[in-house]
């Protein structure tokens, strides 16, 4: 029996992603990014992102169909990120998905961007063990989730109370004179540095702090202060050591809290997702700590960790398989869609 083919649209931020899956098999993952246009601003500018989505949408769909070697009429269902994200950017994807669903006469599923980050791992490692703990870390999100049933039930355990993890990388990169986005250059610089050179603070790790919430604002400030003090003293800033020590603090807190969430909930599967999950130290430390705790760690390849259309198609595929009702034709974008709403 042939599994259904799902076409997925992702436009919540700066990537125009169109993915196609058949069941858990990835058929196409076409991506257009407007990052180069945002670089001169040092970050994503919403209006620029929306226009770029509009221009990239149709060519990206055509590329995905060609890569998958299928015709649009072969598609069985359409899925789209309806939130959370930038309102104007989300609207482009939602409008495109509705148009394709209507034109093809196929069901439409409006899905949660964060749940899609979890679903994408099924394309690489097969069906998710349920329940799993999922940790999503990116420029816009830092969340710990309990996932009893990815198609219908996702619970938020904790989130950042100030800066997202990826944002801390961007800001520290700026302090160190490294380019935006800050994740890859900090990761590279850190490879030459000593992670134990500077003891940067681990936010919200005290006994009375919220066990699963994150705080990266104090860490960012500590790095800025440390660098400023060096500069005031007229001493050179050891960029590699600062990068390595900062990255260690982030990876330490993230992995400690994720492992704790697994233990506290009696869950032995952890999934990482989001752009920061591409960080080499986070991956290595997560592997080390999960192995020690008897937890099975699943991390998608870096390419699938960042935003893409395949993750949306993957979640759409799950919803179809679970028999979840499709979205209403008046589906809209919700920039602050709560994490516990998997589809709507």
């Amino acid at each position: 029996m042939n599994e259904p083919i799902v076409l997925g649209f992702e436009t919540s931020c700066d990537e125009t992603g169109v993915g196609i899956v058949r069941g858990h098999t990835l058929l196409a993952d076409a991506l257009a990014t407007s990052m180069a246009e945002h670089e001169r601003f040092g970050g994503v500018v919403p209006e620029i992102a929306s226009r770029a989505h509009l221009e990239a949408m149709v060519p990206t769909v055509h590329r995905a169909l060609a890569d998958a070697g299928i015709a649009a009429s072969d598609v069985d269902a359409v899925a789209v990120t309806s939130g959370p994200g930038l309102t104007g950017a989300l609207l482009v994807g939602v409008a495109a998905a509705k148009a394709y669903a209507l034109a093809l006469g196929k069901p439409l599923y409006g899905v949660n961007h964060l749940a899609a980050h979890v679903a994408v791992d099924e394309l690489q490692h097969g069906p998710l063990a349920e329940p799993s703990i999922a940790m999503l870390v990116s420029g816009g999100h830092s969340s710990l989730l309990l996932v009893p049933d990815l198609a219908q039930e996702v619970q938020s355990l904790g989130r950042t109370i100030d800066d997202a993890a990826g944002e801390a990388f961007d800001k520290v990169a700026r302090v160190l004179g490294l380019p935006f986005p800050g994740g890859p250059p900090v990761d590279r610089a850190a490879r030459e540095g000593d992670a134990r050179a500077i003891a940067f603070p681990r936010g919200l790790t005290g006994p009375r702090d919220a066990a699963y919430d994150f705080s990266f604002s104090g860490l960012k400030t500590a790095v800025a202060r440390w660098v400023e003090a060096r500069e005031r003293a007229g001493e050179p800033v050891p960029v590699a050591d600062v990068a390595a020590s900062f990255q260690e603090a982030v990876a330490d807190v993230l992995t400690a809290k994720a492992v704790r969430a697994c233990r506290d909930h009696g869950v032995d599967h952890l999934v990482l997702g989001g752009g920061v999950a591409a960080n080499s130290r986070l991956r290595a430390l997560a592997e080390e700590r999960c192995a020690a705790a008897g937890i099975v760690l699943r991390v998608p390849s870096p390419r699938l960790c960042t935003d893409n259309g395949a993750m949306v198609a993957a979640l759409g595929s799950r919803l179809v398989a679970a028999g979840v009702a499709p979205s209403a034709p008046d589906l809209g974008a919700d920039s602050s869609l709560p994490i516990d709403v998997v589809s709507r």
């Binding site: 970050g43 994503v44 919403p46 100030d162 997202a164 302090v175 202060r225």
Partner: protein, 150 residues
């Protein structure tokens, strides 16, 4: 309201935010100025708490702007850190109008003052002993009068 504030703890920064929220009116523009880690997002968290907005206020750096509803007045929280030129709030795709909201802009000095006829500048700084300081600088008669009354 005092113009100069010493803010030894995070709670003090939050309290000043709540005080500003109590004085806030729809259409207000607050421009927060100060280096990384001076307490700009913390002050905005206090303003959000004072207005009674629903969601927790977190840094909007990545998305540039976030709208918080459910309070006495909607709060538009903008981070202009990465905007190079003069920003027009229309470019931010906000689903809220600035006339009906309190708009708080971090890193907005020299970029967003034209958004409202007058604004309150809040100069935040971080001393070497980690105490934060705040200086309220009214631009326009309305804010001057409000600060002198309270």
């Amino acid at each position: 309201m005092k113009r100069e504030h010493l803010l030894p703890t995070l709670a003090d920064t939050h309290a000043l935010g709540r005080e500003l929220a109590a004085a806030a009116r729809p259409g207000d523009l607050l421009v927060l100025v100060g280096p990384l880690g001076a307490g700009k997002t913390a002050l905005t968290q206090g303003i959000g708490a004072g207005l009674g907005v629903r969601e927790p206020v977190t840094s909007p750096t990545f998305v540039i702007a976030r709208v918080h509803r459910g309070g006495r007045i909607p709060l538009v929280h903008v981070d202009a850190y990465r905007l190079g030129g003069a920003a027009d709030v229309d470019d931010l795709d906000l689903d809220a109008s600035t006339e009906e909201s309190v708009t708080v802009v971090e890193w907005g000095q020299g970029l967003v003052e034209q958004l409202a006829e007058e604004h309150l500048e809040v100069r935040l700084d971080r001393r070497d002993d980690d105490v934060r300081t705040a200086l309220l600088v009214p631009h326009g008669p309305g804010w001057t009068a409000r600060l002198d009354v309270g």
